[in-house]
């Protein structure tokens, strides 16, 4: 039960979050964006939703091998929350 720190709700258990996808590379075709999964190694850029809480969509930069979150921004918003 890892926790993710929602910018609005604070640290919450992972079960409250919904993972959607890892972000495609810029300039990928529609086919590649949809069907090809990009392995970003230790710097994985992902979309998550706090579906069991405030329902905000988040852009999370994360190291999948350690679970360490490098940055977390509200999707579609210009400012970064800490």
């Amino acid at each position: 039960m890892t926790q993710l720190a929602c910018p609005f709700c604070g640290p919450r258990p992972l079960e409250e979050f919904l993972f959607r996808k890892t972000m495609p590379n810029a300039g990928d075709s529609a086919y590649a964006r949809t069907y090809l999964r990009v392995d970003h190694g230790t710097h994985s850029e992902e979309q998550w939703q706090h579906s069991g809480g405030c329902r905000v969509w988040l852009r999370v930069v994360r190291n999948p091998s350690t679970g360490a979150v490098a940055s977390m921004t509200v999707e579609g918003s210009a400012y970064e929350l800490r």
Binding site: Q3, L14, A30, R55, G76
Partner: protein, 1020 residues
């Protein structure tokens, strides 16, 4: 002479005693004046309480003291045979005194409410407990299958792959199945779900031995919130009984004082609690009071730092016959003596490779054990180091007068010292009788010693714990008290300091106990090749040195391969007494250096857990939430048979209409077509999209343009996923220019909501020009789940309009066209009347606040409409070819579902681009078709595979839904079939070999009933 004083014949055999109606009593315990005592300054029986109790083992009653474990009480009563091994059916006794027990596993309780494989060593007895030995038939003393083992080589490594092939495996399978398996599986579960507790702390200390308590003290003194998990019923580990001095007082006194200080500082001490796994940053621990599943608590502990102080495990030495009852680890014998006052039986021989043997021999002798010999493999090993307490006199002799004098002193006590000797074999039938000892360098000069107990110690290995915890104490290799306390205290301080606590000025406690043992590795005594099959490594799985040889000869050399091939260390105790020994012997057999021995990987759970514990509270009704509609109570009270569909509980049918779902649904559906009916459709997902950008946003979502929809109108809409497959369908209602209400299928509500929110967040304003006030994300739009804000009642059938008109006289229902809606009032609440349905009849959907639902439902009932359930709804919609999640299965495009016209409108929505993928246009793409049974009333069921012929094995698709249609008086269905086989009139076969056999079906239009839609228009 009163009866109490009358001399009694001492029972020679506990069974005879039981036959004579007497309860066997503890013979081997020292006389106990009170529960706890001391002999020559030694504490013993610390776990015992004053009262007594009785229990049965294999049908015989035994007496025990409160606090006894099953192993302690039975050992005290003279029982040495506890069970038989799972493969070779060899007699087995007690080998350890803790959860690492490989042999003495018992079944607790009576069939069917049994709990199998409970270690006798951790099971604390209760009055009247019923225990049984395992793996024996017909009885423990005589086991039939053990006769198979006379040759001793039937079940060698990999025997499954080698034996029982003539004439065929099936001949042997029933016999093997009867013999296989560890214990008896329970026929029923009598366990209540465990309590689940979430704990949050700064420092979690696993293990409360000297290192654990010291580390916990350090952290707690620095101000950290500390939780300590201890698997034993009491804290302290070795401090509970071992001769030791800490901070100038006996170890157990220091322990009591430290535990009190910990409690005062707010630390939580969890006894009987085993840490089993680590999940993310949470540690899972569980409590099994008295070593038996029952009143369990599962702890999920989130700790800032985890310290593992789980101690070290004593290791056995392999020799011939090392599995006989009576062979026990030395430390276990010391624990039985100290904690339960049980002395090892009869003449005792000690065998090991380090000097702690001597101190232990003196301690056990002090408690009255009859030690006859010490066999020490070291040729010229150090005899004794100066010790603080019991052995001090002997140590002084050794120091002052030399080794020979000390040996002479031991001999004067009746203890023969064989240094530089090894123990080749133990002999006996159901228990040890004799051991064969020889000098290490002269194996032929062997002699025998008679004994009833053999205590073995091959050194210690650190116990494995959680992979990510910091390790301290014996688990980190500091096996003696003097050297472990300062590092343990520092570990506690470090953990607290890392969390930002200010470290206080206290200093680490100073302790002295048994000195650091200098262990000379010694894994097994020499044996002839033919005898290696009696040198056991894993006692639970009967893995011998010979098995390792077989594995190596057959090419399995890595420890992980050998583990799987020979079953080394895969038992309930996870090989705690066999992993290190097996790895060492494997290295030896492969000709490697001992340092090159590999260790196999430990995997969670670290201790056995019942499935009940793993499930926790999430069983039965709490397995998942269930959602109720506002009309739930009415359905339940009026014969509605409620079934879960997704999270919702929905009425499948009403009992008044028929005995079973099939007949009742047919009655209900036929009544809707004939007159009318009402159904509870409140489970529909409802999402409100409001804002100046709403129409533009929905244009991006739906396959057809939402902005073209007029206010007051609804339309059937489909939304696609990014990959072009259909996500969901439903009606979209335009309430006003900037307000839409989208309905989704009952089970897809949350998914669609998430999809909309995702698109809003990912592409804000992609095609939308916001001019009006916006939210913080720069978009004039809000998306709200309003599923629970609207109850929905479907009113369908020819009589729906006149009946409804009677209830809502102010609305001109005859002027309300198909797919139009209007808001009106009923009993002071808003009711939205939408002319649409899911049945192909003239039908309306009434959207109302939940509070009004029961009132409106009652009024409709009183107006003469009868309710119908989901099964009837299913009949009506399959007859009309309407879709549900059975067809929209996440694998079909709108083209597959016959929505070419909608796609053809060319709206640039999500997923439209990828619809052009060539793969979506291949000739064998699934295509939605209707099916009718070719032969009258022959049935075919959803899930049946479609084939070209009756025996055909190539699947062309499958039946997604099928119902018995009362309108057509035959079975009809919908199917997804390869497009190149879907010309109307084709005869295909619905193959359902497991349920109904094969049925010939005709491909027809998906719209089985009223293809012109006349009924929907209210035309007869």
């Amino acid at each position: 002479m009163n009866s109490a004083d009358r001399p009694r014949r001492r029972p020679t055999n506990s069974r005879r005693a039981a036959r004579e109606g007497r309860v066997p009593v503890a013979e081997t315990r020292p006389p106990v004046p009170s529960a706890k005592g001391a002999v020559e300054g030694k504490r013993y029986g610390t776990r015992l309480r004053d009262s007594t109790l009785t229990f049965t083992f294999d049908g015989v009653r035994y007496a025990a003291r409160a606090g006894d474990t099953a192993a302690a009480a039975l050992l005290a009563a003279g029982v040495s045979l506890f069970g038989r091994s799972v493969k070779a059916r060899r007699p087995r006794g007690v080998f350890t005194a803790g959860p690492e027990e490989p042999c003495a596993l018992l079944t607790v309780g009576q069939s069917p409410l049994v709990i199998p494989n409970v270690p006798a060593t951790t099971l604390v007895l209760h009055a009247g407990m019923v225990l049984r030995s395992q793996n024996r038939w017909p009885s423990l003393r005589f086991d039939f299958a053990s006769l198979l083992q006379v040759g001793g080589s039937l079940f060698t490594a990999g025997f499954y792959y080698k034996t029982f092939f003539w004439p065929t495996w099936r001949v042997f399978e029933p016999i093997i199945r009867h013999l296989a398996g560890l214990g008896e599986a329970p026929g029923a579960c009598a366990l209540s779900p465990p309590a689940v507790e979430h704990l949050s702390c700064d420092v979690l200390v696993v293990g409360s031995g000297p290192a654990g308590v010291t580390a916990a003290l350090a952290a707690a003194r620095a101000g950290a919130i500390v939780v300590v998990c201890e698997r034993e019923p009491v804290c302290g580990g070795e401090l509970e009984f071992e001769d030791s001095i800490v901070d100038g007082m006996p170890g157990y006194q220091w322990l009591a004082r430290s535990l009190l200080e910990l409690r005062t500082l707010g630390a939580r001490l969890l006894c009987n609690t085993t840490v089993v796994a680590e999940a993310g940053d949470t540690v899972i621990a569980h409590t099994e009071p008295d070593g038996l599943p029952g009143d369990n608590t599962v702890y999920r502990i989130r700790a800032g730092r985890v310290l593992s102080a789980v101690g070290a495990l004593e290791q056995p030495i392999a020799f011939i016959g090392n599995d006989l009852p009576g062979v026990m680890l030395l430390g276990a014998a010391e624990r039985y003596a100290a904690l339960y006052g049980v002395r090892p039986r009869g003449p005792v021989v000690l065998f090991g490779n380090h000097h702690r043997l001597y101190a232990a021999a003196l301690r056990l002798r002090g408690l009255g054990a009859n030690i006859v010999a010490i066999v020490d493999t070291r040729v010229d090993g150090e005899l004794l180091k100066p010790e603080p307490t019991a052995a001090v006199a002997l140590a002084q002799v050794a120091a002052a007068e030399g080794r020979d004098a000390a040996v002479a002193l031991l001999r004067a006590c009746g203890i023969a010292c064989y240094q530089g000797h090894t123990l080749h074999a133990a002999h006996g039938w159901r228990g040890i009788r004799q051991v064969r000892v020889a000098p290490v360098d002269a194996p032929h000069a062997a002699f025998t010693i008679d004994c009833q107990s053999l205590l073995v110690s091959g050194g210690w290995v650190p116990q494995r714990g959680l992979p990510n915890a910091s390790i301290t104490g014996a688990a980190a290799g500091q096996v003696d008290l003097a050297s472990l306390m300062t590092p343990a205290y520092d570990a506690g301080l470090l953990a607290a300091a890392a969390l930002g606590f200010t470290v206080s000025a206290h200093t680490a406690p100073e302790g002295t106990g048994d000195p650091l043992p200098v262990v000379v590795p010694y894994l097994r005594s020499p044996a002839a090749a033919a005898e290696e099959k009696r040198q056991f490594i894993d006692l639970q799985n009967d893995v011998t040195v010979a098995d390792l040889r077989v594995a190596i000869a057959e090419g399995f050399s890595h420890i992980e391969h050998v583990k799987r091939y020979t079953t080394l260390g895969i038992g309930t105790e996870q090989g705690r007494t066999s992993n290190t020994l097996g790895a060492g012997i494997l290295a030896e057999l492969r000709g490697l250096e001992p340092q090159q021995a590999q260790t196999s990987r430990a995997r969670p759970p670290l201790a056995p857990m019942t499935l009940n514990s793993i499930a926790g509270q999430r069983t039965g009704a709490a397995f998942r939430v269930s959602r109720h509609t506002p009309l739930h109570d009415w359905h339940a009270a009026h014969g509605g048979v409620l079934d879960p569909m997704g999270l919702w509980l929905r009425p499948r049918y009403y009992r008044a209409n028929g005995r079973d779902a099939g007949s009742a649904a047919v009655v209900e559906a036929a009544r809707v077509r004939a007159t009318g009916g009402i159904a509870d459709c409140s489970t529909l997902g409802k999402i409100e999209i409001v804002g100046p950008d709403a129409a533009a946003f929905l244009d991006e979502i739906f396959l057809t343009r939402a902005s073209a929809l007029k206010v007051g109108r609804a339309r059937y809409m489909v939304q696609l996923r990014e990959d072009g497959l259909v996500l969901d369908d439903g009606l979209l209602l335009r309430v006003d220019e900037q307000r839409f209400l989208a309905t989704t299928s009952s089970s897809h509500g949350l998914e669609v909501l998430s999809h909309l929110e995702h698109h809003l967040a990912s592409a804000p304003g992609a095609t939308r020009a916001t001019t009006l006030p916006t939210d913080s994300r720069g978009c004039g739009l809000s998306i709200t789940d309003v599923t629970d804000s609207w109850a929905v009642i479907a009113v369908a059938g020819p009589s729906s309009r006149p009946t409804l008109q009677g209830l809502l006289p102010t609305v001109a229902l005859d002027r309300l066209s198909h797919m139009a809606f209007i808001d009106t009032e009923y009993a002071g609440h808003t009711v939205r009347v939408l002319r649409a349905g899911f049945s192909g009849e003239l039908a309306f959907e009434l959207y109302c606040p939940p509070v009004l639902a029961a009132v409106l439902w009652q009024a409709l009932l009183e107006a003469g409409l009868a309710p119908y359930g989901i099964d009837a709804l299913d009949i009506l919609r399959v007859e009309k070819g309407y879709l549900t999640t059975a067809e929209i299965n996440g694998q079909v495009t709108p083209l597959d579902l016959g929505m070419q016209a909608m796609v053809g409108q060319g709206n640039a929505c999500i997923g439209q681009t990828l619809l052009a993928r060539p793969a979506f246009h291949e000739e064998h793409r699934p295509c939605l078709v209707g099916l009718q049974a070719a032969d009258g009333r022959a049935a075919f069921l959803a899930g049946a595979q479609i084939a070209l012929s009756a025996g055909g094995t190539r699947s062309l698709g499958y039946v997604t839904s099928s119902v018995f249609s009362p309108t057509l008086d035959r079975w009809v269905g919908l199917a997804l079939v390869a497009r190149n086989h879907t010309s109307l009139g084709t005869t295909l076969w619905a193959r359902d070999p497991l349920r109904g056999g094969d049925t010939a079906v005709c491909v027809v239009s998906p719209v089985h009933v009223d293809p012109e839609g006349l009924r929907m228009k209210g035309l007869p």
